[in-house]
């Protein structure tokens, strides 16, 4: 298996991990709505994953850039930009005092990210298979 195959295999795994992170976020938000968890614990828990998620995604995007996968890079660049913007504005962390006011926004964001990671997952899978096929030819 060549470099491109390995890259997309890695991307598929990353996308799967990110996908699960988002599912976890969404489950936690609905737990909050059902009063299974209090806002302080929720924010403490989720905030541990916020930066790792962003870094993982940025790392993947960087890999695409360095390996010259420009389509994949352009697909991911907007989200990286959005994340960086959030960090600059210092509102990337979940705030327990505001969480109920902003909950619907957070949920919406998580769902959109979930959709995005899902699409990327299948795209990476497709590219991986393509790469494998072209190698075997």
């Amino acid at each position: 298996m060549g470099g491109e195959g390995w890259l997309f295999l890695f991307a598929v795994l990353m996308a799967a991990v990110l996908l699960f992170t988002m599912v976890f976020f969404i489950i936690m938000f609905s737990d909050l709505e059902c009063d299974y968890i209090n806002p302080i614990d929720l924010c403490n828990k989720l905030n541990q994953f916020v930066l790792p998620e962003m870094i993982a995604h940025a790392f993947l995007t960087l890999c695409f850039l360095l390996s010259g996968q420009f389509i994949a890079f352009l697909l991911n660049a907007p989200l990286v930009g959005y994340n960086v913007n959030k960090i600059m504005a210092k509102n990337h962390m979940y705030d327990a005092t505001e969480i109920f006011r902003t909950l619907s926004g957070h949920k919406k964001e998580s769902f959109i990210k979930l959709g995005f990671y899902l699409v990327s997952f299948f795209y990476y899978l497709y590219r991986m298979i393509l790469a494998l096929i072209s190698e075997s030819d």
């Binding site: 709505e33 210092k90 705030d95 006011r101």
Partner: protein, 936 residues
């Protein structure tokens, strides 16, 4: 159906009875019904004796005597629901015991299980004297299905009423045109539209089944049935509540009735407390929850007087007669034994604090109020930490008269220097506390610049965190050292731009994180801020906001000015002596379909419907937005607020406030029942939130848009006069809302301008979101009196025992006269405006000065002189100070009409109907709203 007979005497109502094809006439004040056309008007009376003196109405042809058909005249059904037995003829007064003269009534006690026996003894259809007439009867035996049947009947009646408009009570809508009219500001005191409940909605007929609006009010007194109707109407749906309201004699407040026998009947499913709007079923052995409809068992001791050890009268129970009650909670409601009140004082002793006299005044005020601190059971604990560049812990050993000081200079890793004697029992360590407070200011005479407030707060939190309680922080400068250090960020270039809102938000997340820590450990923080320069109120007020405390600001405080010292000492003293509730949670429950959507106020939101308040202060206001997630099917909705708290005398208590209102599917009825004060209160909270999350511009636009949306719907849907019009139509009950909104747009918390210090803005916003309605309304729409020409009785005690105040004037400088003396008050400050042509006699009488030229403007203490006019002015000032709930004592400023431009324009900024800098006049505001309305 024949046409409705018109011209009934006052107080009578006609109802069509389909079964007998005739009208039944109902005396609305007593609920009495008769078949004959009434001739005498009826007036509401609460005396039971009227029933004997009233002309005996002809008995109805008892429909019960036709057992084959279960049809009853509507009136009789009404009466049955209202309190009369269904086996009773109509002429029975549905009165609950305890509210009328019942000496001639044999008391009827209810014993569970006995109901059927008792009731069975009474032959059906027989004319029984009061026996059951005084109590709502229970349906029993076949009563249950009869009930269903009757209920259907009622539904029919209701529908007929809706169709023909003669049965269901509706609010009458009077349209008022605003353009070109001067608003009648006296209408601000009028009560909100009443909730027109069906006469059978409550199980008792007590006059107290609805809470006083100062406890809880809703923007609408008629609940829409669907969210789409609510959206269509553009009216906000929100609850405005101050559940821990003070009880003041001046306001003729009734003390909160306490249910002492710890029998707490709650719904098993939704946990709602029993209230006047439940229904008793199965012979009174069970009750049906008014929120979720679940049938619950009535507790065994519900009808038992535990003190006297005998059966008690269920209908006398306080929770069935009062909208506001307090339960003494049994141990199940306690996580731990009730904690004592704990106060930790964190006092800034840096140079500026000592020099301004803040430390000395604070120490003296604490000393003077040691007896007033809630300490009924001698358990109150106290701790004092002085802070400057290091932390000074005070060791106050019990029994000793000597206090010693322990200094900790490690600000990053705060530790307690001593395990004991830092947090001490007030009574045991009283001598040491007194010694310390007596010389506190003298101990810190060598100048220390810098303030490690954050570290001191952490230390105080460590000290009292195990018990919980209140940290009272007094600081005179920006925290500059240790944890939570802040920098001055009040860049004047930001003012007036869209970035200004960043100055209204916290600069550092430390304060939010610390607030959460405090809230977890049941610690509340009150902030007293004194500063000559920027103190970052926006950041520091985060602590009170999320821990249910309060922020107090004394800009430019200087204790050598007696007015400053008195104001601070009075307010601080009131905070110290306030009977607080500890370790509290507030939960709001409502009829199925209603959801709590958002919360505004000082607390931490712990879950979707639970607010955590480490300490409940008195007279703090909360706004809760409501949504309808499902269609509301019930005809009456109930909203119940429960405040579980520990009193400062060591009792766990639950204060329950129950409010009921009918549902409606008409937009007109929603407009007719809208409460302008509650809507104003909601828009205040909403716009302040907007100014922080978005920008001040957006906040002002939000106000104007919401207002014009409402008036557009009113114009198109209710008055049905679409198209452009030269008029701005509003319902009579909302006619002052535009004026209040004009005041809000121009309020210092939201006003457009480049010269408002961010501290003042933040403080004003903190007040806007926490003041109870009674103080909030004057804060956005000040009161304005003309004193020089007031009527002779103004300022004296009137025949009703209350002080007579001059009539409130419209807030426009047109009313100012060059020779006059005027009074403006907004709940936080008052101004005595003196015209420059005021006659020397007036100046002499009021100020004891020879002429206007001798008078200097600024903070002022009026002299008390031996002349009637001076005394009347002093009386008006004193009465106004007493008028508002809360701890605030207004500064009195004397404003000369031709000097001190800053003070003068401040006073003039209270006159909100005028133009002010860039902000237009009230008339322009109306035109702006009207143009938006016409455009649609």
């Amino acid at each position: 159906m024949s046409s409705e007979p018109l011209n009934l005497p006052q107080g009578w109502e006609a109802r069509w009875d389909a079964q007998s094809s005739a009208y039944i006439y109902i005396d609305q004040s007593t609920g009495q019904a008769q078949w004959e056309l009434p001739t005498q008007p009826s007036y509401p009376t609460s005396h039971h004796s009227t029933s004997s003196s009233a002309p005996a109405p002809a008995p109805a042809p008892a429909p019960v005597s036709r057992p084959g058909r279960r049809h009853y005249p509507t009136a009789q059904i009404q009466q049955m629901y209202a309190g009369g037995g269904y086996d009773q003829p109509p002429p029975v007064q549905p009165l609950a015991p305890g509210y009328g003269d019942q000496t001639h009534v044999a008391p009827q006690f209810f014993t569970p299980g006995m109901a059927d026996v008792q009731q069975a003894q009474i032959p059906q259809g027989q004319f029984q004297q009061p026996a059951y007439g005084q109590q709502p009867a229970y349906p029993q035996e076949k009563g249950v299905d009869q009930m269903t049947n009757q209920f259907q009947n009622m539904q029919m009646g209701y529908r007929a009423g809706a169709t023909y408009g003669d049965q269901k009570q509706l609010h009458s809508i009077q349209t008022v045109n605003l353009i070109g009219m001067q608003p009648d500001v006296r209408g601000l005191d009028s009560p909100p539209p009443a909730a027109l409940l069906a006469p059978n909605a409550a199980v008792t007929q007590s006059p107290h089944i609805q809470p006083d609006p100062s406890y809880q009010r809703c923007t609408l007194a008629a609940m829409p049935t669907t969210q789409s109707l609510l959206n269509k109407s553009k009216l906000p749906l929100a609850l405005v509540l101050a559940p821990y309201r003070s009880v003041r004699e001046v306001d003729d407040d009734m003390p909160v009735p306490v249910v002492e026998d710890s029998v707490i009947a709650r719904c098993r499913r939704c946990r709602a407390y029993i209230n006047p709007f439940v229904t008793f079923i199965e012979g009174g052995n069970r009750w049906k929850c008014c929120m979720c409809g679940l049938s619950n068992e009535v507790p065994q001791l519900f009808d038992w007087d535990q003190r006297e050890n005998k059966p008690a009268d269920r209908w006398g129970r306080k929770e069935l007669n009062h909208a506001v009650v307090e339960y003494i909670a049994p141990t199940e409601y306690m996580v731990r034994p009730p904690q004592p009140p704990v106060y930790a004082f964190v006092i800034d002793v840096s140079q500026s604090a000592v020099q301004s006299g803040m430390v000395a005044t604070a120490a003296r005020t604490i000393l003077e109020n040691l007896d007033n601190l809630p300490n009924a059971d001698k358990r109150t604990k106290i701790a004092i930490i002085a802070v400057s560049t290091s932390l000074h812990f005070m060791s106050l050993p019990p029994g000793s008269t000597e206090a010693s000081m322990l200094v900790v200079s490690d600000l990053t890793d705060v530790f307690l220097p001593k395990p004991v004697d830092l947090l001490v029992n007030l009574t045991e360590s009283r001598p040491a506390i007194e010694t310390l407070l007596g010389r506190l200011s003298d101990m810190f005479q060598e100048p220390q610049v810098g303030n490690a407030l954050g570290s001191a707060l952490q230390a105080a939190h460590q000290l009292i965190g195990k018990i919980g309680g209140k940290i009272i922080a007094l600081t005179s400068c920006l925290p500059s050292l240790g944890e939570g250090a802040l920098k001055a960020r009040d860049d004047p270039k930001l003012l007036g731009t869209s970035k200004e809102s960043s100055l209204l938000n916290a600069a550092s997340s430390w304060y939010k994180t610390f607030a959460i820590e405090c809230s977890k450990q049941q610690v509340a923080v009150d902030m007293f801020l004194f500063s000559a320069s920027y103190t970052d109120v926006a950041t520091l007020s985060c602590l009170p906001r999320y821990t249910a405390g309060q922020t107090y600001l004394y800009p430019g405080f200087n204790a050598s000015r007696s007015e400053d010292a008195i104001k601070f000492a009075t307010e601080f003293g009131r905070v110290l002596s306030m009977p607080i509730g500890l370790e509290a949670v507030i939960r709001v429950r409502a009829t199925r379909g209603i959801r709590l959507a958002a919360f505004h106020g000082n607390f931490f939101i712990r879950s979707t419907d639970l607010l955590a308040l480490p300490v409940v202060p008195m007279d703090q206001n909360y706004v809760i937005e409501l949504q309808l997630e499902d269609d509301v099917k019930a005809t009456t909705v109930v909203i119940q607020t429960a405040v579980l708290h520990t009193t400062c005398f060591g009792e766990r208590r639950i204060r329950v406030i129950t409010q009921a209102m009918p549902t409606t599917d008409s937009i007109a009825e929603m407009y007719g029942s809208a409460d302008q004060i509650a809507i104003a209160s909601y828009l205040v909270s909403k716009s302040v939130e907007k100014s922080m999350t978005s920008s001040l511009d957006d906040a002002r636009n939000l106000i104007i848009n919401k207002l014009s949306d409402m008036l557009t719907v009113f114009k198109n849907q209710v008055t049905s006069s679409a198209g452009a019009s030269a008029q701005l139509a509003v319902p009579d009950n909302l006619k002052l809302l535009p004026l209040l909104m004009c005041g809000l747009v121009k309020h210092v918390g939201l006003r457009e301008g480049v010269s408002i210090p961010p501290d003042l803005r933040s403080y004003a916003q903190a007040l806007l979101t926490t003041l109870p309605c009674q103080s909030l309304i004057p804060y956005i729409h000040p009161i304005f009196y003309s004193l020089h020409n007031m009527s002779p009785d103004a300022g004296t005690v009137g025949p009703d025992g209350h002080m007579v105040l001059p009539p409130a004037l419209n807030l426009t400088s047109e009313r100012l006269e060059r020779h006059g003396l005027f009074f403006i008050e907004d709940g936080q400050n008052m101004f005595l405006w003196v015209g420059h042509e005021a006659v020397p006699r007036l100046i002499q009488d009021v100020f004891d000065l020879p002429s206007y030229a001798e008078l200097t403007g600024g903070k002022y203490t009026l002299p008390v002189l031996d002349n009637p006019f001076n005394q009347r002015v002093n009386n008006i000032v004193a009465k106004t100070r007493e008028l508002r709930r809360g701890v605030y004592r207004q500064h009195l400023y004397v404003v000369k009409s031709d000097a001190e431009p800053a003070l003068r324009s401040w006073a003039l900024s209270c006159l909100i109907e005028d133009r002010m800098d860039k902000m237009g006049s009230y008339a322009q505001f109306l035109t702006q709203v009207k143009n938006k309305v016409s455009r649609v």
